[in-house]
């Protein structure tokens, strides 16, 4: 069935740049299939509502699990999945408040004249933090000399890309694109399998 000889669990789907050799080794495709199929079986056994979003999340977390903790993007995805699993509604609300306060902290205080006494008193700190949260966050300054404008969009797209150096971002992006493509191929193959009955 598989002419390439590699242990591909999915039916061979056309890989656009399959002829080029990749320098680094990714997570083997069977691991990707294992994690995703396991997640799919849980989705099938579970409630029938909002399955699309559950499956989409399962795709990203199984991708991250197959890649393991050696990559910053997979660690970021695993952290997101863990945070989602371990929050109830109340703690999710508290997490949003904490996030607002953290965002307000490093924001430049020059716009708010009353922010000078940030350490004094809890109430003034909270109101100014709330007011700072309402302001649009300042655009992040370009990290390094090369290609800052485009790299901001890339940082938003790659999970965990916000705090990285530029060259780390490029490496992580390459790995993320490879794994994303493998995940899409896997899901495409599964969809084809399920639909030919």
């Amino acid at each position: 069935m598989d002419a390439k000889g590699a242990p591909l669990p999915t039916p061979p789907s056309p890989n656009p740049s399959g002829s080029r050799a990749s320098a680094t080794v990714d997570a083997p495709k069977p691991m990707l299939a294992f994690h995703f199929l396991r997640a799919l079986s849980r989705v099938h056994a579970g409630p029938a509502r909002r399955r699309t979003r559950t499956i989409s999340r399962a795709a990203y977390s199984s991708m991250a699990r197959a890649a393991g903790p050696r990559r910053a993007w997979s660690r970021a995805l695993l952290r997101q999945a863990q945070a989602r699993r371990s929050t109830t509604l109340a703690s999710r609300r508290a997490a949003v408040l904490v996030r607002r306060r953290v965002v307000a902290g490093p924001a430049p205080p020059l716009a708010l004249p009353r922010l000078t006494g940030r350490s004094s008193g809890n109430t003034s700190g909270e109101t100014s933090a709330a007011r700072a949260a309402l302001l649009p966050p300042p655009p992040p300054a370009p990290r390094q000399g090369g290609e800052p404008a485009r790299s901001d969009a890339l940082r938003r797209l790659v999970p965990g890309g916000a705090g990285m150096e530029y060259c780390s971002l490029l490496e992580e992006t390459a790995d993320y694109v490879r794994c994303l493509r493998a995940q899409v191929q896997l899901m495409q193959g599964l969809a084809d399998l399920f639909s030919c009955q």
């Binding site: 656009p16 740049s17 989705v43 485009r150 790299s151 060259c167 490879r178």
Partner: protein, 98 residues
């Protein structure tokens, strides 16, 4: 040694010497690796594509991959609901074993 390790070694060495700049050559090397990953429809000629264009194409490629994941998730959720699981399982197991 991976490219990132090499860059980190260079970075620590150059920090000792006073300057902390990653060489442009290494960055363009990484960018060309990204360019190789893009599907061929998005590359107009392999040489001398400006790196900003590579980043732009990479961003749109990642966005299209995200969209594909969402579309396939929707399709899979419909298929899970309607398909006969026993024959689907048989098909999956058959393809995994071969």
């Amino acid at each position: 040694m991976t490219l990132l390790n090499q860059i980190q070694t260079v970075r620590s060495r150059s920090r000792q010497s006073g300057s902390s700049r990653i060489t442009d050559e290494q960055i363009s090397d990484l960018v060309s690796k990204l360019q190789d990953l893009l599907p061929e429809a998005r590359l107009r000629g392999n040489d001398r594509v400006p790196s900003s264009r590579v980043l732009q194409e990479t961003c749109s490629y990642i966005r299209s991959l995200h969209r594909e994941v969402d579309d396939l998730s929707e399709r899979l959720s419909e298929l899970l609901a309607t398909s006969d699981m026993s024959t689907a399982q048989a098909a999956v197991i058959r393809s995994l074993l071969m």
